[in-house]
């Protein structure tokens, strides 16, 4: 097989190098975050960094195997993979009931546990790409849209049933690919969501009354503009404002009745309505101190003090960015963010050069997933987003997450390497 010999030459090395760089940074940070305990060698398998090294090995091996597989495999088997992850999500739900607490894990014994929700995103991305990549799929068609909704909502709902709201939120990332593939109103929906978030936040910060006045004035101005220039769609505009007015009054209800108390507290903390420095606010406060104390140059590798001593909770998983911020300083933060943005832009660029719709759509899907993960995770550590526990792709400690993201990326790299063979 000539394919096997030439795969090394065809893969997109810039993308892979950014991937390797992120994995390496993650591993060193996990080692450093674990240093608060007694001295231990970096390969000690009972410690986080040793285990992560094992998972890195497994992930790279999986990635390599994927590069050797036939590129058509993933399109052909997309729905089977999707069916498998949905099945695993059901298993974890049923099995999770029996074992209290950890509802999102499947325990395979001997310390190997998998988190199906990490793989659910991958399965959904493949299924969407395969479904929308078909010749007869057209997002302007209602049946196609219903298919898309079903593919996304089934796993999202199952993940939500595990009380893993963070992971469920990630499914919203598919809006990017739907927008790119021309779903009507996808762009409008994105803007409306952004406005809704703004209304939500401002209502909580300012109180509904003030918000009504602000929105009211805005409405009068917009109305005047529409009337003066005789713009079309004035009724749509009026309906839109009506929805937002209703939303203002719904915010109170949603905030105090629908959200769970811990979720409410996290939002209150981020909006500065509640300091709560000992409990929920503690995470945020600690992580900001850790990152802030890093300065421009950082304290140096292994020299962090805030991210040791168990001050920052979950310092090797969801809060791994704190260790980077503290020990590598702003220059480290800059490198990591540039790597992520670079990776995302590269994926979009590669996606656009695909000949197969499947490959392009899949590229947009994973770009969206990675973007939402990074934005929420780093945003949480620096106080821009409420505390939502989802991992930082390629960096956070955790086998399931690393493996799922590596497979995700490897499939895309394989599709890209194969593009020239498509006639």
């Amino acid at each position: 097989m000539t394919d096997r010999n030439s795969i090394i030459g065809k893969v997109d090395w810039p993308l892979l190098l950014m991937f390797f760089a992120l994995v390496l940074i993650g591993w060193l940070s996990i080692y450093s975050a674990g240093m608060s305990e007694e001295y231990h060698p970096i390969y000690d398998f009972t410690k986080f960094c040793g285990k992560q090294m094992m998972w890195i090995g497994i992930s790279l091996a999986m990635g390599f195997i994927i590069l050797l597989l036939d590129a058509k495999f993933f399109d052909a088997f997309a729905f089977w993979i999707y069916a498998l992850v949905v099945f695993l999500l059901v298993v974890v739900l049923v099995y999770g009931k029996a074992t209290k607490g950890a509802t999102s894990w499947i325990d395979f014994g001997s310390g190997i546990k998998l988190q199906p929700s990490e793989f659910a995103k991958l399965g959904t991305a493949l299924a969407l790409a395969s479904f929308l990549g078909r010749q007869d799929a057209d997002l302007r068609n209602r049946n196609t849209r219903i298919g898309v909704y079903l593919i996304v909502f089934i796993p999202a709902a199952l993940v939500l049933l595990q009380h893993d709201a963070g992971s469920a939120l990630v499914f919203a990332s598919f809006i990017f690919l739907l927008y790119r593939e021309g779903m009507p109103y996808a762009g409008t929906l994105m803007i409306m969501t952004a406005v809704a978030v703004a209304v939500f936040v401002l209502t909580l910060v300012w109180s509904p009354k003030v918000m009504c006045i602000v929105l009211g004035s805005l409405f009068v101005l917009t109305l005047a503009y529409y009337l003066y220039y005789r713009k079309k769609g004035i009724w749509t505009m009026v309906a839109l404002f009506a929805v937002y007015f209703a939303f203002i009054f719904a915010v109170d209800y949603v905030f105090y009745k629908v959200l769970e108390p811990h979720q409410r507290l996290r939002i209150e903390v981020i909006l500065g309505m509640n300091d709560d420095i000992k409990n929920v606010g503690y995470n945020l406060h600690q992580s900001r101190i850790a990152i802030g104390s890093g300065g421009f140059w950082g304290k140096g590798f292994l020299q962090g003090t805030q991210t040791k001593y168990d001050f920052v909770p979950e310092q090797h998983t969801d809060f791994i960015f704190c260790t980077i911020g503290e020990e590598a300083g702003f220059k480290g933060s800059l490198v990591v963010i540039l790597l992520y943005v670079g990776m995302l832009v590269r994926i979009i660029k590669l996606a656009e050069r695909q000949k197969l719709a499947f490959s392009r759509i899949y590229g947009y899907a994973i770009a969206g997933i990675i973007f939402v993960h990074v934005a929420i995770n780093i945003g949480m550590t620096i106080g821009l987003v409420p505390v939502i526990g989802i991992p930082l792709p390629f960096l956070s400690y955790g086998g399931s997450s690393l493996l799922a993201f590596t497979i995700m990326l490897a499939i895309f790299v394989k599709q890209d390497a194969n593009r020239l063979k498509i006639l």
Binding site: M35, S36, E38, Y39, D138, F176, Y179, R180, E181, G182, G187, I277, K278, H285, R288, I289, I291, G292, S293, G294, G295, F296, K299, Q303, T305, Q306, K308, Y309, F311, G325, G329, F330, S333, L334, I337, L338, Y340, V341, L344, V345, I348, K349, A351, E352, A357, Y364, A367, F371, A375, I378, G379, I382, G383, L384
Partner: protein, 612 residues
């Protein structure tokens, strides 16, 4: 290209735009946090943060009357953070002050550095108050070093060393078993310090202090938001009576053995004496290691708690057990008489002189061997069981209900279970061919039977209670409202009717009161007691002197067992000591100075005697 007409490819720039804008927003936020915001960087400049563990005061221990048995004294650990130690300090003076050699200084620094450069290690442990004051004055010249307060135990009465237990440095296994502990922690290693470690230890706190370049503490970091206060440990009130315990230890001086006294109605242990003992103050502070090794090497083994780790044949004190089981199984009635030919009896000789055909009460008073052999034989051969093996199983089950052959497993670590041989054991030992003659020694508490002094005292408590017991335990209550473990307040029934106990009790009363009673010489003025002597044959030397007793007979307040190794007859040493203990507890004083003096000054130390 399906949507080429709509030119959807242009939408990639919107998406890339979103990614880039979010990236830029995050970078601006990070720049302001990391570079512009000075408040968060206080620690990154000249100041260092010091994480001082706030050790909680360990719970105090009191006796049943509120007398303090264990309290805490402050000592000071000199801590070092190797990464902050300056290379230009005057180590000569420092070493002189600490009384360590230069080599030792280097070794200690290396050890600490090996553990962690940024985390504190103990440099010199447990420095006294005086040295602390002295060194504290010049410590500002030695950055990276600071003092951390912690507490060590102190024992004002210096009694009950084994019961209270000791605290020692944590070992690797303990460190792994509980994430609460850190490398330099101390944990309970024996006694109630071990069993109630979780309650006594409290919860460590943490104080984050800002330290300037001159090694001066500048107060709490961020106004103490990161600090957590230590939670003091729970106090414990024991069932022990400190006065009685001290008295018992004086009585046992110069002898090897133990006294266990129980309050029958609660199962609380009133006195828990093992001899030889040691001063618990020897095992605290910097002298601990040296003293511990000395005690470990002592041929008399003072570290062993004989009251729970010593197992002895119960001898004649076991006769009540056989009497009770025989009565309950209907194999004898109180009036049943068995013939005794004194020293000529077979298969077991009688060592006492009494009438030829005693009944049950008489047999207890005179400790008649043939009577209890016959009663045991009648039980296991009782036709209602079918055959002797089933009869033996019944007997075995009853001994278990009487608290023998197994541990009580309450709050006393390192307890042993003693031995009541099972049917399977005899089947194996004699190839299935055995009968009442083969196992005749069981009838008089010899042979394979082994009991701990604690189990023996519990037998006395069961008889005093006429049929039930609470598993013997040390704790009476916690200093707060926490309930003590349910196991210790669960009443255990023996399955033997109360009327049978009344007969046994009457027999035990006549051991003191009867004309032939084996303890008639140890009568307590003004108190009616019940008891039973025992003389356990000991293949290694002189017989052990054993006694179990309770008093007052009408409403028992105390039940006890005494074992004096190599003390000869039960009536010689064990009975008088038991009578003094009961008198002291019930009356609060004793008025038999001659007996008291003889007991306190008596030396029956087999090991010493053999050497001479």
């Amino acid at each position: 290209m399906k949507f080429s007409s709509r030119n959807l490819a242009k939408r990639q720039y919107v998406i890339i735009g979103v990614f880039v804008v979010v990236g830029v927003i995050y970078l601006i936020k990070l720049f302001s946090l990391q570079v512009l915001d000075d408040e968060l960087k206080q620690s990154a400049d000249n100041n260092v943060l010091r994480y001082v563990t706030q050790y909680p005061a360990r719970g105090k221990v009191f006796d049943r009357n509120g007398e303090l048995l264990v309290y805490n004294e402050a000592v000071y650990d000199l801590m070092v953070v190797p990464g902050q130690v300056s290379k230009t300090i005057d180590t000569t003076e420092f070493c002189r002050l600490l009384n360590i050699s230069k080599e030792s200084y280097v070794e200690r620094i290396l050890k600490a550095r090996n553990y962690s450069k940024i985390k504190a290690s103990v440099f010199v442990a447990q420095i006294s108050k005086e040295d602390y004051a002295h060194i504290g004055e010049i410590l500002y010249r030695y950055p990276g070093f600071y003092f951390q307060t912690r507490t060590i135990r102190h024992y004002p009465n210096a009694i009950a060393a084994h019961t209270l237990g000791d605290i020692g440095p944590i070992d690797q296994d303990q460190l792994k078993a509980d994430p609460y502990y850190r490398r330099d922690d101390y944990v309970g290693q024996s006694g109630i310090e071990k069993f109630y470690e979780k309650e006594l230890r409290g919860k460590k706190g943490l104080k984050v202090v800002l330290v300037d370049v001159h090694n001066r503490e500048k107060g709490s970091y961020l106004d103490g938001v990161l600090d957590s206060l230590p939670v003091p440990g729970k106090d414990i009130y024991l069932g022990l009576d400190a006065q009685l315990q001290a008295y018992g230890e004086r009585l046992m001086h110069g002898k090897i053995g133990s006294i266990v006294a129980i309050e029958p109605k609660t199962g609380q242990i009133l006195a828990f004496v093992t001899s030889p003992t040691y001063d618990p103050n020897l095992l605290v502070g910097r002298v601990r290691g040296e003293n511990y090794n000395k005690l470990l090497k002592d041929p008399e083994k003072p570290l062993i708690n004989r009251a729970i780790s010593g197992t002895y044949p119960p001898g004649s004190t076991f006769k009540m057990v056989n009497g009770l089981i025989a009565l309950q199984s209907g194999s004898i009635i109180p009036a049943t008489q068995f013939h005794c030919s004194g020293p000529g009896s077979t298969p077991i000789k009688c060592t006492h002189h009494h009438g030829p055909s005693p009944d049950l009460a008489n047999a207890i008073e005179n400790s008649c061997n043939p009577y209890f052999y016959e009663a045991f034989k009648a039980t296991i051969n009782n036709p209602k069981f079918g055959d002797i093996k089933k009869g033996y199983e019944y007997w075995y089950q009853m001994t278990q209900k009487l608290g023998l052959g197994h541990k009580f497993d309450t709050d006393i670590p390192y307890e042993r279970s003693g031995n009541i041989p099972s049917r399977a054991y005899y089947d194996k030992a004699y190839g299935g061919r055995w009968n009442s003659v083969t196992i005749r020694s069981l009838g008089i508490g010899q042979g394979e039977i082994l009991v701990t002094p604690l189990q023996l005292a519990n037998i006395a408590a069961i008889i005093a209670n006429e049929g039930y017991y609470y598993p013997p335990h040390l704790i009476r209550s916690f200093g707060d409202t926490t309930a003590i473990p349910e196991k210790m307040t669960t009443r255990m029934e023996t399955g033997i009717e109360q009327r049978h106990y009344k007969v046994i009790k009457a027999g035990m009363k006549s051991v003191f009161e009867g004309d032939h009673g084996t303890a008639r010489g140890s009568k307590i003025p003004g108190v009616t007691a019940g008891g039973k002597t025992g003389t356990a044959q000991n293949p290694h030397g002189d017989n052990h002197s054993i006694f179990i007793a309770f008093a007052p007979v009408e409403d028992p307040k105390i039940a006890l067992s005494i074992i004096i190794e190599n003390g000869g007859y039960g009536s010689t040493w064990a009975a008088p000591i038991a009578s003094l203990m009961m008198e002291r507890y019930i009356k609060g004083y004793t008025d038999r100075p001659a007996v008291e003096e003889r007991m306190m000054n008596g030396v029956i130390n087999y090991a010493i005697k053999k050497k001479k």
